[in-house]
């Protein structure tokens, strides 16, 4: 199983934002897509989630054209947590999490014993079990994010795509989420996330993909990718690389 791009161009209104990209994402890793605003990292993710079609070239899943792959099968293999989530009216937490089981249920959406178990397990894992009878619309932002994560986890896919999941979160919730994702990755899930914070990516992820102006610039482990030269080249930034005193991972400190 793997996700790859072959001469892939993606964009909006005929304007390519990702340009002729060749990229293979390694299996079983915790991958961050990085780059300045407008570099195409979210656009690429949206193409992998089949929200955007390929303008030319191909996105591939297990060697097959992703956009021709059977939707129902794909929804059991690839899940997406979008950047912003609507607030559905009159839906309880446990209902929303159960919607994640849709690819597995019959046409009326009735849950099997196993579905119920998975839904409960994912609520436990994300600390939302106590909220199960509350309406999603009554929750705080941080709680809602965890409920959505539970829903996406209930989809039970080996691959998980996340679009800037930490952007609107308080720092404590950001750390909590990154730990959660790290745990999921250790359990065998491949995680691909768009991130803004380079230091956050270097600390928690084990594979970084750096893009600029729609092109792939670097990819590899944090130690290989996070260098002064890369920051200069991609972000036009003068920065030093130091060791994170707690985790030992590389981190950048900006020069004046």
């Amino acid at each position: 199983m793997s996700l790859s791009a072959h001469q892939l161009s993606v964009g909006y209104h005929g304007q390519a934002i990702v340009k002729d990209m060749d990229l293979t994402l390694p299996d079983g890793r915790f991958i961050a897509l990085l780059g300045p605003n407008g570099c195409g990292k979210s656009t690429l993710l949206k193409c992998f989630a089949r929200i955007l079609p390929a303008m030319s070239g191909e996105a591939r899943w297990q060697g097959q054209n992703l956009h021709a792959y059977p939707s129902k099968q794909l929804s059991k293999e690839l899940a997406l947590l979008p950047q912003t989530q609507p607030i559905p009216e009159g839906i309880k937490v446990q209902d929303l999490v159960a919607y994640g089981r849709s690819p597995y249920t019959g046409f009326w959406g009735k849950l099997s014993q196993q579905d119920h178990q998975i839904v409960e397990q994912m609520m436990q894992q994300t600390g939302t079990y106590e909220l199960k009878d509350k309406l999603v619309s009554e929750l705080s932002g941080g709680q809602r994010q965890r409920v959505w994560l539970a829903m996406v986890l209930a989809q039970d896919t080996p691959y998980l795509l996340l679009d800037e999941p930490t952007t609107y979160m308080d720092i404590n919730h950001q750390v909590e989420l990154m730990h959660q994702l790290q745990r999921l990755n250790k359990q065998g899930k491949t995680i691909i996330t768009v991130l803004h914070d380079i230091n956050q990516a270097a600390r928690y992820c084990d594979h970084l993909v750096v893009m600029k102006e729609g092109e792939l610039k670097h990819q590899g482990s944090p130690d290989e990718v996070l260098t002064s030269a890369m920051l200069k080249e991609v972000f036009s930034l003068n920065a030093q690389i130091h060791r994170d005193p707690v985790a030992g991972t590389p981190m950048c400190v900006v020069e004046d």
């Binding site: 089949r50 939707s71 989530q85 609507p86 009159g90 690819p103 009326w108 959406g109």
Partner: protein
Amino acid sequence: MNASRFFPLGLALLLILSIANLVFGAVSLSLEQVWQGLSVGSEQHFTVYEYRLPRIFLAILVGAGLALSGALVQGVIRNPLASPDVLGVSHGAGLAAVFYMTYFAGASTDWLPEVALAGGLVAALILWWLCGAQSSAIKLAITGVALAAFWASCIDFLMLTKPLEINNALLWLTGSLWGRGWTQLQALLPWFLLVPVALGLSKYLNLLDLGDDSATSLGVSPQVLRLVSLAIAVALTAACVSICGPIGFLGLVAPHLTRKLVGGRHQALLPATMLTGACLLLAADLAARTIDPPIELPAGILTAIIGAPYFLWLLLRMK
């Protein structure tokens, strides 16, 4: 309240309202007279069997149909303030009907339902043509509201320039069950084959509540689902409006009220909202016939009297 309590209570209310509609009216009957009236040859046969009974069935069908359409539109546009009215379907049907009544004043009114139905469907097609298949929910709603206002102004223009023929048109435009019987019921019934199709979409409509991106990731095509749901809502609305005229606010109030009672899961919401719509229209028609007998008010005025303040209350509560 959960769904397991809503349905028995709703069905009991529907039964009580139906019986009340048989008993009360310009002439009040006893239950015994109603019972006798159901069989041929009795003194009350015409009142009960030819007049009140088909009207009850019509109120149930039209109420359920408009409410279901409203729930479908609200589900697809993801806005609790949406209703089939915002798509301009009711007004399109109204314009076609008024045009027919004013320019073909001598023509038979038997064709009115077909004309109104065609008008509603054409209005929906124009909306579709303007927005295109890829359009977002919000663009659809705003274009629909603009079109509805345009159709409404055309209706006003016709009625002001043809003042002699407006009486019939006015009566029809307020939405009424007056004078409708078994014939209209027969014409309406086939459209309700769409109801099981709509119920079959429940699971997928739930996913649309999560947003287009999540729905896609869960294996649903939002564009296709929107097209199918709206087509069903448009057809049902046009069919109902063609028989009874536009019955205001029912498609907005019934689904909204029901969502508060049984929640937003469409497996419960869609059938429950049909029950609510049927009860509301039965109650409105009962009131319309009994407030000032023998004069009948159009049921559409009563639903508007209840519906408009509800709508305002909703708007004021929204942050």
